[in-house]
Assembly symmetry: C2
Homo-oligomer: 192 residues x 2
């Protein structure tokens, strides 16, 4: 492939994902369909199906395309500050308006569509967990994290309370909530 | 009302909830309907709708009827053991077979049905949060929990990692996982 067709392909992919987000915000996840995205983006629906197997997979990629690099961990040398910055970015992207309701609907879909669940884990959760473990390992080497902290649990411990707020109580995921969760997790339940 | 009709009403309520669980296990949440429960239980569907506004509300009550007292906290004087015992019971009831998939589907439904979300919080999450806070307060008074631990967060911190496993990674919720989560939460991330 020469450069020009590849570039046109990438532009078309970007246009489809932008259309997905735009239409998703307008009509909501339940009414979103690959057919409707194709019609508005001016492409055939097979063009979309060649790349994405379901509207769940398409929406997930579209959401993540917004800010992938922003979900990397900074390394300022202060683990509490770096976790906070990364979680703020994740919460700003996926935990509130305008895209929070779409992400929430996607997780809802993952409860009865195995393929959406697998895609969510492969494309988002597992890479985030790897980044989290890497950042915490570096912090542990610098004595900023308890040496026996179970790193395999890091993602569940750090993000579990956020998903609880998003999916169960369905109350706003604010920066203040993130701060309180991090303070509690660093301190632990046991009296010092 | 004399005693006999009240007793017959309670028996009918129990029979409807048992039928709901039985049918839910057989055909899954997606295909479960109030009409199908009514037909199998031998009651009119209006009898069910008088008490439950949706299949989500009916299923939630049915699940909780299995083991409500088992979800109370013991108070042996050892907070870590008591939390563990209560979370084991909750995980045994709602986190695995045979009822785990139905509970998972119900939480999925709560992502697009506001009434199911409200019912889930009113009938299950809020009462559990109250019990958790009460047990932790008693533990704090006995010096078993850090004096500045943010009790309003207790439910999110303790159960968030369990919901993460149930809804996001969708891996088995074992007692061993519960133990690891509790150990990590008691110890905290910060080096001692």
């Amino acid at each position: 492939m020469t450069d020009a067709p590849r570039r046109r392909g990438a532009e078309r992919t970007d246009a489809i994902m932008l259309t997905t987000l735009e239409l998703g915000r307008e009509i909501g996840y339940a009414r979103l369909s690959i057919e409707a995205v194709a019609a508005r983006a001016g492409v055939g629906k097979h063009t979309i199906y060649r790349r994405w197997s379901s509207k769940g997979a398409l929406l997930l990629d579209s959401l993540l395309s917004l800010n992938e690099s922003g979900l990397d961990y900074p390394d300022t040398g202060d683990i509490a500050a770096d976790l906070r910055a990364q979680i703020y970015a994740a919460v700003d992207l996926l935990g509130g308006p305008p895209f929070g309701p779409l992400f929430q609907a996607l997780v809802g879909e993952a409860q009865h569509d195995r393929q959406v669940a697998v895609t969510l884990n492969e494309r988002f959760i597992a890479p985030q967990a790897d980044k989290t473990v890497a950042r915490l390992k570096a912090a542990r080497d610098q004595g900023q994290v308890a040496p026996d902290f179970d790193l395999e649990l890091a993602m569940a411990i750090l993000s579990g309370p956020l998903y609880f707020q998003l999916l169960i109580t369905q109350e706003p995921l604010t920066h203040e909530y993130v701060d309180r969760v991090l303070d509690a997790l660093f301190a632990g339940l046991r009296p010092s």
